[in-house]
């Protein structure tokens, strides 16, 4: 998985994100079967089972949204990337770091989507808890389901349930591809 382009090193990024007690790590295809398996692995993990109900539910729900966001929205990785060749390549990591759980996702997107993703996350991060709640209700009540079934609520739901800002980086990889790294914290 070693590849360095435009200063971005995927292997270093991955190693850095594994800091903490690793509950789950996945590098490869994001499929419905993989998601089912990952959910089961997290749910049966001792560090998950020992949490109080509210934390368990938040972690599980947010994990579902993070993975299904990947499933619906990843772009194919660069052709020269030495990962197992798959058009829906993504990385998912769940770690416990002290009193926090962190869900990290990483995937490639086309450069053309950078502005959209950046603007969307910056907008969500600028909202107060009350504004997030009202926007959620507004979209739930007024917008129809997108072709991918996402409904435009995934990221918003993550922000709402965690009460934390989304931490993200967009690493230029080559002329076409950008690596999108997202960290979600649940306390």
């Amino acid at each position: 998985m070693v590849d360095i382009r435009m200063g971005f090193n995927l292997e270093e990024w991955y190693a850095h994100k594994l800091q903490g007690d690793v509950i789950l790590k996945h590098v490869g295809s994001i499929s419905p079967e993989m998601i089912t398996h990952a959910l089961d692995a997290v749910e049966t993990h001792s560090q998950f089972k020992h949490q109080r109900l509210q934390t368990r539910k938040k972690l599980y729900n947010v994990f579902v949204e993070c993975m299904q966001n990947l499933y619906h929205h990843v772009d194919p990785p660069p052709a020269d990337l030495s990962v197992e060749g798959t058009s829906n390549f993504g990385i998912v990591i769940v770690v416990q770091d002290g009193s926090f759980f962190r869900i990290t996702t990483g995937n490639f997107i086309n450069r053309s989507k950078v502005s959209f993703i950046k603007d969307r996350i910056e907008q969500l991060n600028s909202l107060s808890d009350e504004e997030v709640r009202l926007l959620y209700r507004d979209i739930l009540g007024n917008e129809s389901i997108s072709e991918k079934g996402g409904g435009g609520l995934g990221m918003l739901d993550i922000v709402r349930k965690t009460g934390n800002k989304l931490e993200y980086f967009l690493y230029p990889y080559d002329e076409e591809h950008v690596f999108f790294s997202l960290d979600v914290y649940i306390s």
Partner: protein, 126 residues
């Protein structure tokens, strides 16, 4: 009217649609990647049911987890029942949530704010 029962799976809930009793139940986990595929037949059933409904219709929603994709479909079910209610039929929504599950409680509040149906929030002890 035909009763439909769907057993639960790791990503889809148990569903019971009982036309004779005027009873709809959705229980468990609703986290499929494509919720429309799962919910469309249920919404079609409610459309049919609404043509000659019972005097009283009760819908119990008791979800442990549901994803945002399902949230839109659940709203579509409520909207169908809201139409029934507007026509003068009695409809009751029972929204179950586990004690301490603030997110599920708030999800019930979200629907209450959007749809105009008698809505009962029912807390279940752990």
């Amino acid at each position: 009217m035909e009763t439909i029962i769907r057993e639960d799976t790791p990503k889809t809930p148990f569903v019971r649609l009982d036309g004779e009793k005027g009873f709809v139940e959705i229980k468990g986990r609703s986290i499929p990647e494509n919720s429309v595929d799962f919910y469309k037949p249920l919404i079609d059933w409610i459309d049919q049911y609404a043509k000659s409904p019972q005097e009283n219709t009760v819908i119990n929603i008791q979800l442990e987890y549901f994803n945002t994709s399902s949230s839109k479909c659940i709203l579509d079910i409520f909207k169908k029942l809201e139409l029934l209610h507007k026509k003068g039929h009695k409809v009751q929504v029972n929204w179950y949530y586990e004690e301490d599950d603030e997110d599920m409680f708030e999800a019930g509040e979200d629907y209450q704010s959007i749809i105009n149906l008698p809505f009962k929030m029912i807390e279940m002890e752990e």
